[in-house]
Symmetry: C2
Subunit: 260 residues, 2 copies
């Protein structure tokens, strides 16, 4: 048994929320046809990433219109959808994701924990807590973009039993090292699958790297996108997680290290 | 001001302790001529790595003949030497390193913290504690081989102010991913220099990868060896550590992440 994942590397040029959700609906239909159980979108996909102050206008509560549309689309196409959006809550804005199952029920809600230096700090508050969810017999965690660059959050969710870490990102083309070198290490060092979904093209003068990828627990790169729009498909087999964690027991033995 | 480091990728075929120390003395002379302040040897260089039960015969106390010879060589050639050896202490054997300064004084003594699954567990006890040392105005930590594959020890020493992590290793040629992908990530994610010194050639049926390297705090690979005997030279500038840690404050902000 395994879970088939579709990673949607989406064009940044999509204009507004409506156009983004229409594009997504088309991709979900295709992903479902290819047998995918779950589709992963880039960071803030539904609202847009590099849109300056307009983010405040597009941001919605976690149970708003974007959420209802995602739930409908998941049910319509019979595929789980994991999608980022700007969330308003009690006067604050969060960089959030939600995942809806093929029955339309919400599986998870997660906010970005670490807001990186730069323009994001003008808008977003940091979230708290790591929520896991189960789908197709596997356990998933969601860590948004900058959160995966720290070693601690990935370690934390893997220790809680996450077998797959889903990472929506918005990585510009001067950060190739992060996508090619550092983020794949998070998969290997925890013995888990990791999927990294990026935008492509240009948005408000920001050029995205593309290069979404799926890494296996043993370091194998199962798929990597180029610079343009692309759908990656990868099968995630939980047996590979068990094998990797048995071969290199970093997780099991980390607490026995006597650092002091 | 910077520290010039020589990484000695040593041939595994060197027969015994005497032959190893003679080889090292010749390399220290060359490294000193090239202006190096410090020379880094592979894991268990002085005693040999893959020599089975013979390790018990070659192991010595931390103040034994190997230690005295290293101290003499450092003073003779006017260069610090960082060298691994099998250490006996109260009936146990440790996979240890010591570093002697150009005046012959011992700068550090560090034992491997994590003994990996496999033959090492037949011989070695895990060490405890991370010792740092200062040389040429920079702060160094030593983590032996498998210790750097865990995220925690590197984070721990970087948080204590280490600007350079020295990693003697004994990596066989089926673990290229570790050398090329995961270990360089430790440098970037902590904003520190990292030097990885491996053996080359064959020892007791084990084929080493070679590919010793030096990584800068911003991910740049300053030098990488091929499969054969080689001396890498790299200049370590503390300003690069400060710049990397300011640009990406993973260390400074990790404790403010609210994981739970």
């Amino acid at each position: 048994m395994s879970v088939r994942l579709a990673v949607l590397q989406a064009p940044a040029a999509l204009a507004d929320v409506a156009e983004r959700l229409v594009w997504l609906s088309g991709r979900l239909a295709k992903a479902a046809k290819r047998g995918a159980d779950l589709a992963l979108c880039p960071e803030l996909f539904a609202t847009g990433y590099n849109i300056g102050k307009r983010i405040a206008d597009r941001a919605e509560p976690a149970d708003g219109a974007i959420a209802r549309t995602l739930s409908d689309m998941a049910r319509t196409h019979g595929i789980a959808v994991h999608c980022g959006f700007a969330e308003t809550d009690q006067g604050r804005i969060y960089n959030a994701v939600q995942c809806y199952g093929p029955d339309g029920a919400r599986l998870v809600h997660q906010r970005k924990l670490a807001i990186p230096p730069g323009p994001e700090r003008d808008y977003y508050s940091p979230g708290a807590g790591c929520a896991l969810f189960d789908l197709g017999g596997m356990r998933f965690a969601s860590l948004v973009c900058y959160d995966i660059e720290f070693v601690e959050p990935a370690r934390h969710v893997a220790a809680q039993g996450a077998q797959v870490i889903l990472v929506p990102t918005a990585l510009s083309d001067n950060w190739g090292w992060v996508s090619r070198q550092m983020v794949p290490a998070r998969a290997f060092e925890n013995g888990v699958f990791l999927a990294y979904a990026n935008h492509c093209g240009e948005e408000g003068g920001l050029r995205y790297l593309g290069e979404s990828f799926v890494a296996a627990p043993d370091g194998e790169e199962l798929a990597r996108a180029g610079a343009g729009e692309q759908m990656l498909i990868a099968d995630l087999d939980p047996a590979r997680v068990a094998a990797a964690q048995a071969r290199l027991p970093y997780l099991a033995e980390r607490d026995s290290l006597r650092l002091d």
